[in-house]
Amino acid sequence: MSGALVPYHQRQNKAVDRHLFIDLLVRLNRRLPIVDYTYVSFGGAFLEDFKLLHGAFGNRKLISLENDQIAWRRQQFNVPLSCISCLHQDSADFVAQYAIEGNAIVWLDYASAGETRRQFNEFQALLPKLRRYDIVKITFNANPNSLRDSRSADENGKRETAEVRNKKRFEVLDKRIGDFIPQEFNFESMTVDGYPRVLSKALEVAASEALKGQSNMLFQPLTSFTYNDLAHQMLTISGILLERSERVAFIRDCALRAFRLATLRWGDYKKIMLPALTARERLFIDQHLPRSRERTIQRKLKFWFDPDEDVSLEILKSYIEFYRQYPNFHRVLF
């Protein structure tokens, strides 16, 4: 749970991911009483996600896990709502002693890059303890550079070719979680776009393995995003524990197929890649949404975001995809 002191609330891609999670819960709320759920997450010193969830649904059972003494003390000072219990506890201990009555939403918001196995194992330990309709969101590092840096050199000081580097990356990953990686993957998947796919498919294996003892249950992925605010690409997957037989009906009842940002298949994911826009640019673009497409807007803007027109359009397209969740950061004086 390192990263507790990082000002996540100012990271716009992560902020969008948090808003998207609320969007997903709104859809699930058609079938499930989200307000009655206990929410568990690693709130950090800022407890952003707690404010958001409470604001949207009014949940009153909120638990924050924090293993860092300093962050925990600061959290207690900052705690924005009286209904948040800030526990000074490691997520592994929490999972081991899991005793929530009623349904829960658990967000395993991991930051550390080198502990993928521990994170997978924790997720596996948690799943069988959960009940039908419990919701789990798991976030972990999906940056292939954390396996081996793209600027690495060989022993003679020469820069490694992509093939050599990716083979080394795959070796590292294989040592960590090789038993979860489906056989169809090899070193060629160790790219920025390929690595999240491998992790997602490996998590599918981990989830299925964890639920072996409850063969009528499955963990259904609902949304899956990658985002990159600082140097690290993260992958975040949200899913729900369902009975096998109700899967199709549940997806239909929550209109998840109509939810543009849903990802109902393991291995797939959507990228959150927001451009940094000025307030004026934003207001201008928003005036044309949701009716206009990126090309029309670009024409009206009379400038490009990038020397390459296609890249510029891509940036606009990405904004259009997530404009409803785009956060505004302003300087406020108290």
């Binding site: 196995r117 056989q183 294996v205 499955l218």
Partner: protein, 476 residues
């Protein structure tokens, strides 16, 4: 007291015939689903051996080239199809569908692994209650159907066999199982089941040798890639005398059985901090231990128990210090009954005289490498220098080596050799000792920040740096 009923002295018989349900439940109880499906793959491989029996290709290093088996499963059905020659009519009529294998069945002259006597039916009944088997050989094509109705009828023990027009473009077998049992159907589901992943891994482990020799296995259209097996071996030209890290090898020809044995390191020894991180890393111990192969088929995979010599006759029991040690024993014979294999093919026959003899060499090899880890654990950095010079050599090329000057005859026999060169030893002039102590995390962080400006520095590095500083001062 007089009781009414049958007349005293009258004789009757009672039913003692088995019911099919009894057979089915007994047959399928003690086998796992993946093993049951492997039985079907074994039958395909035996088909290859049968069809290449008198051909030159059987002697090549790719005897299975061109042959394949495809396994497809989902919630509703299971299918395995192959191009491995088909089940000959006589074999089908006489025993392939019988419950058990009769004594004299005619495949005794090829190195088979499958056993039609039990495997096929067991696999079918493990999965479901109805099945259709189509076989096409060069001379005939026929289908045998097992229906739900047949399953429920304890009087009818014959199965209908119907000759059909050749339905396939090649010789081979197509076996379908439907009406899957609920648990099996759930495992075969695309969503929320890790069975496919685990089964592919199992096939890769158990059929690695056969696949490397040209056979192809597809599971739900995915090609199964064999798991590479390698052992560390220092390049010949870069190894000064006494610095060669090489596997222990043994080879013998005994009573019609060829034996090849190799044991060594498949990976470098783990450092202490890596051992601590065991939970972080993949369960690497899954890759350690002995693998035993009979006629190309893996019968024991990465075993770390007394069955393979661990923890007996002076060899220590397996624990994580030995995580890098891996060995392989390969038995081959045209007379399958001479192989040290249990009737279920899921294990080695530990009472086999041949196996007990070979086990002595397994233990000798193990002892050599467990001792090596013992003598070097005081100085892992120095050991790393040696082992990092070693290359990963594929096990197939190790097992096919011919004895040369570095091999010695065993007990001066002409049919048994071993290669047992000394492993590198630490220098004894200034031996190293280990210092161990525990301090609170906070204190370690304070010292780590003081020395390195980084509170997250590994405790072992912090400890060593403290010692080095004091040692410098102490020498003045």
């Amino acid at each position: 007291m007089a009781i009414k009923g049958h007349e005293v002295g009258k004789r009757e018989t009672v039913q003692a015939t088995p019911t099919k349900r009894f057979f089915v439940s007994m047959l399928t109880r003690d086998i796992d689903l993946p093993d049951a499906i492997l039985d079907l793959l074994d039958n395909s491989v035996d088909g290859v051996l049968r069809s290449t029996k008198d051909k030159a290709s059987a002697k090549s290093d790719q005897p299975y080239a061109g042959f394949w088996a495809r396994i497809v499963f989902n919630e509703r059905k299971f299918q395995i199809s192959d191009n491995c020659g088909g089940i000959p009519f006589k074999l089908a009529k006489d025993y392939a569908f019988m419950m058990g294998r009769p004594l004299d069945e005619g495949d005794s002259d090829i190195p088979t692994v499958g056993m039609y006597g039990i495997g096929m039916k067991r696999a079918i009944f493990k999965m479901g209650t109805s099945s259709r088997v189509v076989s096409q050989t060069k001379s005939d094509a026929f289908e045998v159907t097992i229906s739900n109705k047949w399953m429920g009828d304890d009087k009818d023990w014959n199965l209908p066999l119907k000759f059909v027009k050749p339905p396939l473009k090649h010789t081979g077998v197509v076996l379908n199982v439907e009406d899957l049992h609920k648990g099996v159907s759930t495992l075969f589901a695309k969503e929320g089941s890790s069975f496919e992943h685990e089964f592919i891994t199992t096939v890769a482990q158990h059929y690695g040798f056969i696949i490397n020799k040209g056979f192809k296995v597809f599971v739900n259209d995915k090609t199964v890639e064999p798991q590479p097996m390698t052992l560390l071996w220092t390049k010949k030209d870069s190894a000064p005398e006494g610095k060669e890290l090489a596997p222990y090898l043994y080879t013998a020809e005994m009573d019609g059985v060829a034996v090849r044995l190799a044991v060594g390191f498949y990976d470098q020894m783990l450092t202490e901090s890596e051992l601590d991180e065991e939970q972080v890393a993949k369960r690497t111990k899954d890759d350690a231990g002995w693998t035993i192969i009979c006629n190309d088929r893996v019968v024991v995979h990465n075993n770390k128990t007394r069955i393979t010599g661990w923890g007996e006759a002076g060899v220590p029991s397996y624990h994580n210090q030995f995580i890098g040690i891996s060995g392989i024993v390969y038995f081959q014979s045209n007379e399958a009954w001479k192989l040290p294999i249990t009737t279920t093919k899921r294990g080695v026959d530990t009472s086999s005289e041949l196996y007990l003899y070979v086990k002595e060499f397994m233990r000798e090899g193990l002892k050599k490498f467990t001792s090596y880890t013992n003598v070097w654990k005081q100085d892992p950095d120095e050991e790393r220098k040696i082992s990092s010079k070693a290359e990963r050599v594929p096990i197939s090329s190790i097992l096919s080596m011919k004895p040369d000057a570095k091999w010695t005859k065993v007990k001066n026999r002409g049919n048994e050799f071993k290669r047992n060169v000394s492993l590198p030893q630490p220098t004894t002039k200034n031996p190293k000792r280990q210092i161990r102590f525990s301090k609170s995390q906070k204190e370690i962080e304070v010292v780590a920040t003081h020395l390195f400006g980084d509170a997250t520095t590994e405790p072992s590095i912090v400890g060593e740096a403290c010692f080095d500083q004091i040692y410098k001062g102490a020498g003045k």
